[in-house]
Symmetry: C5
Subunit: 312 residues, 5 copies
């Protein structure tokens, strides 16, 4: 199991002296002391509206927002990522979850052929500090940038400033960086994803979430991902497991992203919350076993199937 000692954490120079211990606390809490990030993505109620929460193949429990927090509370995760308002509505009843405030969001209604994507900052950084002052366990912030969009500049500017503010206050930052827009021919090109990862490093993020590349030229997605994990340097690469598939495939992909692709964690949303509470909880444990404790796929599968348990 990977262990990151407090003194080994590379604290960015944007972290103020007063906030240094807070940053270390937050970094170690978010990564559960491992330097790896298991991010439970709960921002889709804006991003995908109700598509991910209601319909065929989705457990009825997912129709209610409490579901997300129950999973976060009973499962094993690094952080629960959601918008400020969502977190503010439930955090008092789920005080132990590590929250990562997803600062920007957009709906998917306007399609790419109508307009390039822009996801706006939803509130000032001070609104996040207010949550912390009011006792919410916020350890970091998140922001999505669509590079290649005609609105790339607005998102780069908002993210750049938010990162400086977050670090000055001792919060960690995870960027979602997706190539998207009329100028982008292949959103899952491995070389382009490496550029996305490097962009996040240059903006100062602690972690960057990218989509997994498409297989190409006889290389697996995990092999191709390695270019990105090199490009992001000290910014830890976090990857989604891809579209919903069976648990074995999903966990195998996750394992390879880390052990072949050099990823330092994962970001998973609907693959988790579209299941019943019990199953979703077990899946968070299976994912965390791989991500945070270097478990093998078989061990993780046993956890998911309830044949073993995982705690930290």
């Amino acid at each position: 199991m990977p262990v990151l000692k407090r003194e080994e954490v590379k604290v960015p120079a944007g972290v103020s002296a007063e906030a240094r211990e807070t940053y270390l606390d937050n970094y170690l809490k978010a990564t559960r002391g491992t330097g790896r990030l298991m991010l439970f993505a709960c921002d889709q109620k804006i991003e995908h509206l109700n598509d991910d929460f209601y319909g065929e193949g989705i457990d009825p429990a997912d129709a209610l927002p409490d579901h997300l927090f129950q999973i976060g509370d009973q499962g094993v995760i690094g952080v629960l990522a959601g918008q400020r308002g969502l977190v503010a509505a439930y955090a008092a009843d789920y005080p132990d979850i590590n929250y990562l405030i997803k600062v920007n969001s957009k709906t998917h209604l306007v399609k790419k052929d109508q307009d390039d994507p822009y996801s706006p900052q939803l509130h000032s950084f001070e609104a996040i500090l207010e949550l912390i002052n009011n006792g919410v366990n916020v350890v970091g912030i998140g922001y999505t940038i669509y590079i290649g969009s005609e609105y790339e500049s607005q998102m780069m500017a908002e993210a750049g400033e938010l990162i400086a503010q977050a670090h000055a206050a001792g919060l960690i930052v995870c960027l979602w960086v997706y190539p998207r827009g009329k100028a982008v021919a292949d959103e899952k090109d491995a070389h382009l994803l490496a550029g996305a990862a490097g962009t996040a490093l240059c903006l100062g993020a602690d972690f960057v979430k990218v989509n997994p590349p498409n297989a190409k030229d006889g290389q697996t997605p995990a092999q191709l991902l390695h270019q990105a994990s090199m490009a992001s340097g000290r910014c830890g690469l976090v990857c989604a497991g891809g579209s919903t598939v069976d648990a074995q495939t999903f966990l195998t992909q996750l394992y390879q992203q880390i052990h072949v692709g050099g990823a330092r964690g994962n970001a998973t949303g609907r693959n988790i919350h579209q299941r019943s509470l019990a199953q979703a909880v077990r899946l968070t444990k299976a994912i965390s076993a791989i991500t945070l404790a270097d478990a093998e796929v078989a061990e993780a599968l046993a956890i998911f199937e309830g044949d073993a348990d995982f705690t930290l």
Copy 2:
């Protein structure tokens, strides 16, 4: 009759410690101690210009703005929602009304085929605090977001920050969320409305007003509304009664929205104020009887027809 105890109110974490009691006061005042919201919408003088106030089928009393305040004063409502300037002009003479400041507004002159809708924030949040400092009984704010508009991002950002500001100051927030724009094929699709409702939750609103869905696949609007009231979670869903119809139909719809659809209130404007003062006052009482006291439709109708009274 639903009763919400002070200690049962779910206070959002964005409410500052200093503002906690104020928030509880405002929440209970707005919902008349029930957790349900009867919102009297009086923002149409900008939104629809004079169309809702003058013309065939509209009582002549409605041509004068005082009419709105007289109804709010003599009827039974939760809040009167109007723009800051409108409220500021009359509040001194109607000090007991609970006011909800509708912060943004647009006219309906530019149609959707010319440009997607954007409704701008009309003033800073400080301008609302100034009203409160000057003694106006403001309990909350409102804001309209058109999701699917090309200007969705501007409204999401303005709303997100206003909600953080309002909660920090102890005010409640109601969002109006309407899917609208060239990208929106069916503004009254139940699944889309559920997305609208979830968006409001994620932005941190206490209440969200959506339009009622169209009947579909053998399901009534009220049945279809249930998806939205689940999606909005702790953010109470508030629904309009639909276009102007006879009182019985209107009150029946309202009853079903609450008891079938899971709504936690209603937002009604022209259905009320286009009537004579006496009739309008009785209609607010009939609506409130259902919304705030779980009255049956027949009881409410009797109140509307003057055969019974309703007070809180």
Copy 3:
């Protein structure tokens, strides 16, 4: 003659406690103690460039800007409305005029078929307070909104905030609200003008200037204007006399706007300043006799022709 007692003034709730007496002073100064407004419009040097000041049918005296201030000084007016810079240049030599700072302006060079109109705020509100601190007799501010323009939202937002700022500082506000833009088929439709008037009320203006409606369906402009004066409620409706016509026609229109249409004043510019100083001064007195002292048209005409005088 209408007299408005100090205790009868409806002070908007946006007026801070500290500024209440200042507001009352300004309201009574601007309306000369009557509640009616005689506004001498002197903002055309930007709005119409030099078209209104030089050319056939215009008295040569109008070519020099001093002309405006001489009229304001020697005539009887409520307020002289001009841009901050214009007022700042001459106010020291004409200290007794009540000034209303017209905060936004645009030229007429870009026509509607090229782009919809937007008239920008020319400076911060603080720049107006600076004038007051330096001793200028500023009693209020003005702002033009083109509803129906694609830029309506920018003007609504600027006006909304300026009104809040002005009231907090004890200044009165007059909005000019004109329907204009590609979306507007008939700028002088009475029903639309009533919407414009109601918009001003909801934004919090003390007065609103609209153009007079076109005659329609056997109703005179003054009769049709009544819808607007009802819609604007506590926001006093102020109307232009229409295009330059002979004095009798002009004064008759003005009389009917007030006594038939319910207007609470007038806003007149080129009809006054395009005349020689003596004639212009007499015309301000004739207008004020009707507006501020309920004179009959014949009396006003006698004043204009020099056969009688009018003072307050």
Copy 4:
């Protein structure tokens, strides 16, 4: 020779009480005690890139920026107008020049048929105060507005606020106002130029620079200019001498602009700096002799040709 006594200066009401003496100092320094302005325009290195400084017919000395300051130092001028950065780079070595900071600038690369002109404010007003605090002899600021551009509103707003800030700090302001854009058919129409001049007055400028009108209907440019100098009232009209011509023609035009057209100064750039240092210095003296000392053309020519000298 025109002499303006300190007590005769019309101080705009935007000048704060604390800044009054500073304003008087600056006004009298800029106008060399005459109320007339000789402005040496040195902002072309952005406006025209290197076109005005290098090439056929341009003295090689002009390739080096020091040339501008040597002329300003050895010649007789009212103010040297240049961008903040340019002035900041050289002012320590030329401390006696009166500097006017040209706050906005654009290159000429994007042509009118591609986009209407917008010249952006290059820095905050505070950046100018910083220069003054650091000892630079800044007496005023300048700003260019293209009326009739689709971006007119942005420039009007920036200029309007800058003028308020400058006056509050005791600095004088010169606006360059040029009609330009797709909506402008004739940039040198005398009536339109008068509108430009009036616009500057209404924004509060102390001086306005316009281009000279084209001759029309048997009237000379200087005769036609008179409409503009009337329209600008207390805002002194300053005019360019037109394109580079021989010195006699140039000085004759300048003389007529003042004595026929009512101009209160001139703004000249490349006509001066494209010459050798000695010749350029003599030309500043010839210009100043006419502008500041009411010299006849023949006297000025003698100064230019080195047959006489001019000092103040």
Copy 5:
């Protein structure tokens, strides 16, 4: 070897009195006491995504961001230019490097035929001061302007204000100025590049990086560059060596830029970092030998080939 004494440095007037010694320290550190700038450009991970760091002909070491800092640490450079986030991530481990924060950046995904280039400011100036407060050895800032772009105005405004802020805080500024956009026919026209250089001077930059001109009319690029180095005056011209070529050609170009073209330094990125660490380190020394110590090309080549060493 060029030596610039502390008292010979031309301190811009925007440098505050309190920051004067800091500016002198930074200027002399950045130029290694010579007045010449050897800038190691490390901002391409956003500008070119991963294209410059991974692929054929690129040393595998370049795939990892540490490579850049190892070169900066072991080689001889003036400043390492990188985005705030990149510098913040590594600076604690490479404390002796002089850092120049590249404040704006864009990806190359949106091509010129889709939209003109705009590179946004990524964070406030305060975020840079925070780095300095936290102990990072930041000596200056950088910013790219695309003149001729339809977004030129935004970049000019951001740069203008940043320069004022940087000088007030004692930091030096290097602008990258590139003519680019639909309006620009030839980005490497020598006359246009001279305009670019002059623009930087007028904005107040200490150094300006331009691309080398194309040979024309029998003149070499270095000869043609001289127009630009004259136009930039006290703003030192810094030039790239052109596309990747063999070391001898590269060093010869560099030598001629300085000794023929009047350049005061160089800005080099991929030509350095695409090599192995050892080779890259030797190349920085060879470049610095020419730039900072007036070495001949043969001497520099010997250093590059390891036959000689260079230290300062």
